[in-house]
């Protein structure tokens, strides 16, 4: 599977993703500059965390209108996968490729900590290898990660099983105390209608080797790799 890791001015998790893809899951990977529009030779595009364009105006707002993100629409229409983590999630929301928006954390603090994530949807290419109700541990590192969507958007998101991860306790209880940023209904990650565009605030690339303190983030990559068989069609679960 051929991966591309997008680099905006201000991106900071690009090298981490590149490392995990090339050295841990051992797949071909290249960096994609934010002005590039040619994504034809890729199967999955990663939008990493950071502060694209300084997060001026709103987090992810300027990047959401950049040439590479405009090209992503066609890439997704052609069946490509997109994984946005942290700032990448903010960018996908600002671009309108995922519903909702990420706001300033309710606590007003920048939160850099480990979080437990309850897996809700295992029908996406990124979560096929997981069990519903499983709890993953991944770090977050953000100041603007409070997920917000208005009532109709949230209802539509739930109706189509668009919520992938919720912040929870270690034993999977979705409670206020486990919510690090004030996200509505503890939402930590969502997918689009086709399941091929996934955004989450946590950092899977920072939980990909035992030396990092955990390997749960790797499960997303492994699920994704398991979804394509030789002829490029979906693997049936």
């Amino acid at each position: 599977m051929r991966f591309g890791v997008v680099v905006f001015p201000g991106t900071w998790s690009d090298c981490d993703f590149h490392y995990v893809i090339s050295e841990v899951i051992r797949q071909p990977v290249k960096y994609v500059w934010h002005r590039d529009r040619n994504l034809a030779d890729l199967d999955c595009v990663v939008l990493p965390g950071g502060f694209s364009y300084g997060d001026y105006l709103r987090a992810g707002a300027v990047a959401g209108k950049s040439p590479v993100v405009e090209a992503l629409r066609e890439f997704v229409a052609n069946g490509g996968y997109v994984l946005g983590s942290c700032n990448g999630f903010q960018i996908l929301c600002e671009a309108g490729m995922l519903p909702g928006v990420l706001m300033r954390n309710e606590c007003l603090q920048y939160r850099c900590q480990s979080t437990n994530l309850l897996v809700e949807n295992v029908e996406t290419p990124f979560t096929r290898g997981l069990r519903a109700g499983q709890v993953l541990t991944m770090p977050i590192s953000h100041g603007e990660g409070k997920y917000y969507a208005d009532v109709p958007t949230l209802a539509a998101l739930k109706a189509r099983q668009g919520i992938v991860f919720r912040y929870a306790t270690a034993d999977g209880q979705v409670v206020k105390a486990a919510n690090p940023n004030g996200s509505v209904e503890n939402i930590a990650g969502v997918v689009n209608e086709t399941g091929t565009v996934h955004g989450l605030m946590p950092h899977p690339e920072r939980a990909a080797e035992t030396a990092m303190g955990g390997t749960d983030g790797l499960l997303l990559f492994q699920s994704l790799l398991g979804t394509l068989v030789e002829d490029g069609t979906f693997l049936k679960r």
């Binding site: 707002a61 209108k65 909702g100 706001m103 007003l108 917000y148 958007t153």
Partner: protein, 87 residues
């Protein structure tokens, strides 16, 4: 043509920044503040054939980039006689 865009969080959306500023003011003896919300001000000078065209262009800018209408409302006003910012 000079215009001023005022961007506010929609009513009902919790403004944590505003609440923090309000608490800080209360600490300085301004406990009489009932509510405080923080917004954004953007001043734009653009080439336009008429005020209506300028208004329309800036409205398009707001919808495409300047405001996120999930969260924010915006108003646009002409500031013809003023300079954009004090020097």
């Amino acid at each position: 043509m000079k215009l001023r865009v005022l961007i506010r969080l929609k009513p009902g959306i919790l403004d944590v920044q505003g609440s923090a500023v309000q608490r800080a003011l209360a600490g300085l003896g301004f406990g009489d503040v009932r509510e405080l919300r923080v917004g954004k001000l953007i001043e734009i000078d653009l080439e336009a054939a008429s005020a209506a065209v300028a208004q329309q262009r800036v409205d398009e800018m707001c919808r495409k980039l300047l405001a996120n209408t999930i969260l924010e409302d915006y108003t646009i006003e002409a500031i013809e006689a003023e300079r954009l910012a004090p020097r």
